[in-house]
Symmetry: C2
């Protein structure tokens, strides 16, 4: 048996075991990491540059050291001497992995084939932006009427465009006379909120752009929009580089508490990521970042405060006090975001210490405050934000689901990226699974699967896959209502294997084994219980029996099959027809706020009226939580899935055979 070591790629978060001596490029390809290579690993193209990290990564059980890579090769030294290989970097095709390793894939080494987790939702937005363009031609200066060119510009805007008298940003005033000189005294100005001139260009200018950003704890997704037509001209996303400081929100706040300047470091990296996204989106759209004049941002409260450069420590403990819960508008440059020099940045308002501007985005996208019926909106990220209500009343809460739904804390879990299992079916008779991975259309039992999946491989299981596999395990009797895995009477299979005191279900076996362990099922149970309890608390508080409509927001929401969510009891019972994904509603909300200025005022008026339920101090939450741990007996979803409703009662655990014991050992070794 080859010796294996752990490798974790940043910023994708993809990780796995590889044999000692594997090159970083091979490891990346095997794990589905986006690392470019043109020359096929010949050390020529220099595209596969990576940055090895040093330090402790306790969450991943990895101690990464520079000497966990083979020494520099002649090829690397050559490139280094020619300044083609930056300080500290290695060529992925030359450096071999000798020990546990964390490695960074720099922006320029990525091909950006990454799966766009937060897809753009088609949405009919009335384009009514905060900024408008006006083109005017100024009269020649006249020594007999010695007014300034600024005043001539103001007068032209008043007389030709019926605008009020407006001031102009100083940085742009500097450009006025050169622009007038360049284009025979014709200039185009961008006016912000009909209040101030924030940009001046020579001659006629017809297009300006805006960026709507959904800043998540794990993913940052940007939509680049034409501010005149409203069209989304490019999208770009990346992992939140703050992951280095802590995988989830609370560990990032802890990092701040433990490390002087930790908040500033996290603020810096997230702003750098914004700049990268802006540059990448601009490049895709074939425009200059300087043509981006407005930006809106949605984020949970901690990301929101860190992005604004505000210490989030008070958000890490009761009473979870926000510094600001209001819409903040500043110059993007003040946030070190480099767009047009006077580009504005607007963060949407937060609701409470746990319910952020991302939820404001969901509300802006779905407008439950305009609904007649009772709408339940659920945005599953690392926490689940829940909004319930109609035109009369809105309630909101945040439930501590943890990151299980995102594939974290799951043995073979991974983010939704090519190679991740996203759909699972288990044959109720044979208990044999079939599945589909992201990036491959074939199911695993199709003949062409081996061929078609070659490129992406099978690297792990993502959030929607976990929901499906656990639900299918329940429907096929592999787990009982309490979530306990065990052999099914009368259905012998080597898919169910003993793993110490508990059992696991083997979903896939090839070069890597993908299993669902008892701990995985527990993590999913805890997460879904938190979500369910939160929803129930709101329903309780609203004094209703049942909600009329349920919308799942976010990446998780767009990937999962809502029937499985209901089988597992993630959400309260509801007519299945009225349950569905609302897409990346938070991101859509950011785009609405970007393109439709009045909506910013509206959301500012809606939010203070939202009643906040703090789950941590609601006595009933704990009770609901415990009650929601079990898998519900019956919902509409069962019928929909065509399954028998008579489930076998909990079974005594059968002893494992000798052969199974052997397999189990082998599997455990690989996972070690």
């Amino acid at each position: 048996m080859e010796e294996e070591v752990s490798v974790l790629f940043m910023p994708s978060g993809l990780r796995g075991q590889v044999p000692v001596g594997t090159t970083v490029l091979q490891a990346a390809q095997r794990l589905g990491v986006d690392l470019e290579s043109i020359c096929g690993g010949q050390g020529q193209c220099r595209k596969c540059q990576v940055l090895p990290q040093e330090g402790e990564f306790p969450k991943h059980g990895i101690t990464s050291r520079a000497d966990h890579l083979s020494p520099f090769t002649e090829t690397e030294r050559h490139h280094q001497s020619k300044k083609r290989l930056k300080e500290g970097r290695r060529l992925g095709c030359n450096a071999r992995i000798l020990g546990d390793l964390v490695v960074d894939v720099p922006e320029e080494s990525q091909q950006h084939k990454q799966h766009i987790a937060k897809a753009v939702t088609a949405y009919d937005i009335q384009v009514q932006p905060a900024l408008h363009l006006f083109t005017v031609t100024l009269p020649e200066p006249d020594m007999h009427a010695p007014i300034s060119d600024k005043r001539r510009l103001q007068q032209a805007l008043v007389s030709e465009h019926d605008l009020p008298l407006m001031d102009c940003e100083l940085s742009q005033l500097r450009l006025l006379q050169p622009a007038l000189e360049k284009a025979s005294r014709q200039v185009t100005v961008a006016v912000y909120q009909f209040e101030k001139i924030i940009a001046i260009w020579p001659g006629e200018k017809k297009e300006v752009y805006g960026l709507a950003v959904d800043l998540g704890s794990t993913t940052i997704a940007a939509q680049l929009c034409n501010m005149i037509t409203g069209e989304v001209v490019a999208t770009a996303d990346t992992m939140n580089p703050q992951i280095r400081f802590g995988e989830d929100l609370m560990s990032r706040v802890s990092y701040v508490m433990m490390n002087e300047g930790g908040d500033a470091a996290m603020t810096q990296v997230v702003r750098e990521a914004f700049n990268q996204l802006a540059r990448r989106a601009a490049k895709t759209a074939g425009i200059q970042v300087e043509d981006i004049l407005d930006m809106t941002v949605v984020a949970n409260p901690i990301m929101h405060h860190l992005f604004l450069g505000i210490d989030p420590t008070p958000l890490g403990g009761a009473p979870f006090t926000l510094t600001t819960d209001q819409t903040q508008v500043v110059r993007a440059a003040e946030l070190d975001i480099h767009l047009h020099a006077e580009a504005r940045a607007c963060t949407l308002p937060c609701i409470a210490g746990h319910i952020g501007a991302d939820t404001a985005g969901v509300i802006l996208s779905e407008r439950p405050d305009l609904a007649d019926e009772f709408v339940l909106l659920v945005d599953v990220g690392t926490n689940a934000e829940i909004v319930l209500g109609n035109r009369d009343r809105l309630l909101a809460a945040s439930s501590p689901t943890g990151p299980a739904f995102e594939g974290a804390q799951i043995t073979s879990g991974q983010r939704a990226a090519p190679g991740a299992i996203e759909r699972v079916r288990i044959n109720a008779e044979t208990l044999e699974p079939r599945f589909r991975v992201i990036g491959c259309e074939a199911w695993s039992d199709d003949d062409e699967f081996a061929e078609k999946s070659k490129k992406v491989g099978v690297s792990g299981i993502c959030g929607s896959g976990i929901i499906e596999v656990v639900a299918e395990m329940y429907l096929s009797g592999v787990i009982d209502q309490d979530g306990v895995i065990g052999p099914v009477e009368g259905k012998p299979t080597d898919r169910i294997v003993q793993d110490g005191r508990t059992w696991s279900y083997v979903l896939h076996e090839s070069e890597r084994s993908i299993q669902i362990t008892q701990n995985d099922v527990r993590a999913i149970q805890l997460a879904k219980a938190a979500l369910h309890a939160g929803a129930r608390l709101l329903i309780d508080r609203m004094g209703i029996e049942k909600v009329d409509r349920i919308g799942f927001a976010g990446a998780f929401g767009s990937h999962i099959d809502v029937k499985y969510a209901m089988v597992l009891g993630l959400i309260p019972d509801c007519n299945l027809e009225n349950v569905g994904s609302v897409g990346n509603a938070a991101g859509t909300g950011a785009r609405i706020a970007l393109l439709n200025f009045p909506s910013r005022l509206e959301i500012g008026e809606i939010l203070p009226k939202v009643e906040k339920i703090e789950t941590a101090i609601e006595p009933k939450f704990q009770q609901y939580f415990i009650e929601a741990m079990a898998i519900p007996h019956k919902t509409d979803a069962y019928v929909e899935l065509g399954k028998v409703v008579n489930f076998p009662p909990p079974k005594p655990k059968a002893e494992s055979s000798e052969g199974e014991e052997r397999k189990r050992r082998s599997r455990r070794r690989r996972r070690a």
Copy 2:
């Protein structure tokens, strides 16, 4: 005869001839340059550090090279090795001058005994600033009412101080929670224009400060004011470091035209000077620069535009188009001025391409727009800005006087600094002069003069001294009405010496000879003709015969005896009782704008109504100018000075005696 070389000290502009081998410190002391020395030139205190300049200084006819100083001494090398002598610097007491030299006296080597040219005028200003302080104590955060601390702050300001709901600068929002924690939830905020919170401090804060700056072509003078009491707590001034790029305005604009990035370089040095002034004033007052929250600036249009970072090139030629003639308010930080992070900077509006915010300051200080009688205001700097009018109508013009009134372009001219001759009397019978220098109370014919003037010496003649000496030369018959110098019949003297084809008047002889040459008189005639012609143009345009009141603004205005100004015909005839200095009216205007916010709005309303007269395109200006070259026959001032009104007719030039010829040669050699 010792060989002499030229030395010019920056930023004071003081220059002179010194024997080869003189130390820089000795030269500085001889020329009245402010260069500190504690150890008496022993090379111990290291206070006299200077920075030799290299390059061509054509205005001064100096080519300065590093090897025009003696090589580094052991003492200097020792201090260098101990890092006590910065790169490029020399010890003034060790370095000996071997050739023509320009030398910079760094900020920290100055004792700041410099004569405060722009003194603070006592003025009764109603303190009604743009910013106000409010102290509030916020309620403890409450998880059941999860609003942000920002909202709690807003609510407290509304309920306790009856303020409107206000936004807060992001940079200050970051300080809110730490401040609340530090001072048991009590904070003080600074509110700008009752519109926005621009500063937050923990606990109670009672004092904030503002800076009013008069940015002249040659001098920058700052007044540090307590924004609560209105009191001037410190003043500081310095030479405008842009002098390096060109002595007068037009040569600075030329520099910009000829040198890529020249405007940015000038913008940078003037802003650095602002920062030095702020730090120095704050130190004097015993406060932190971070306690300065507001700033107002007056300046001529070119200084104004350069300060704002706007290329002034269009102001260098017709049609002299300003980029902005309006009040500009920006964050001081945007101008790289480091005060409080959110301190505001406000530049007063300009009137026309040649009439700047300094004139706006004069108007704000003198308010001719409120006068019943006709007021003529004259601000003599490098140009003379002239305002004429009353409550019904205001006219303004700028006259190209050149810098002669400031002591420039005059053979022995210098700025108003210790050692400069500022008062002159000539005995009408003997033609012997007596004078007084700045920094010494005794007249030159007093017994104690030698003793009392030892410290400051007699280094040159400043603007007010030149006016007096030329007027006295006229009154005593040394010059005729056309300004021609020549011997006076029946009054033999060796004070009047031939100098080539023309004659000079010897004002002082000691280690340096101070003479008034024919060229000096011509320079004064040109300057006063320009000033007079400008005033006459306005009087003409106004359709009046005579003005009722004349006010001299600026350093020149506060030093000259108005009687002499009238004898020379600088200003039109007026009842002498109604002619006087109005002090540093531009600086006072800046202070009024700083302390009284409504005045900023008022000046913004007054200026557009001011009628601008462009002297360059007024056909009559040239005619008036020529007519004003001669010295007027009779004004009230003659009577006041007690002089006989019968002046001798122009005289044929007498031949010089042999003795005089010898003296003359010796004098010319020294001046060479």
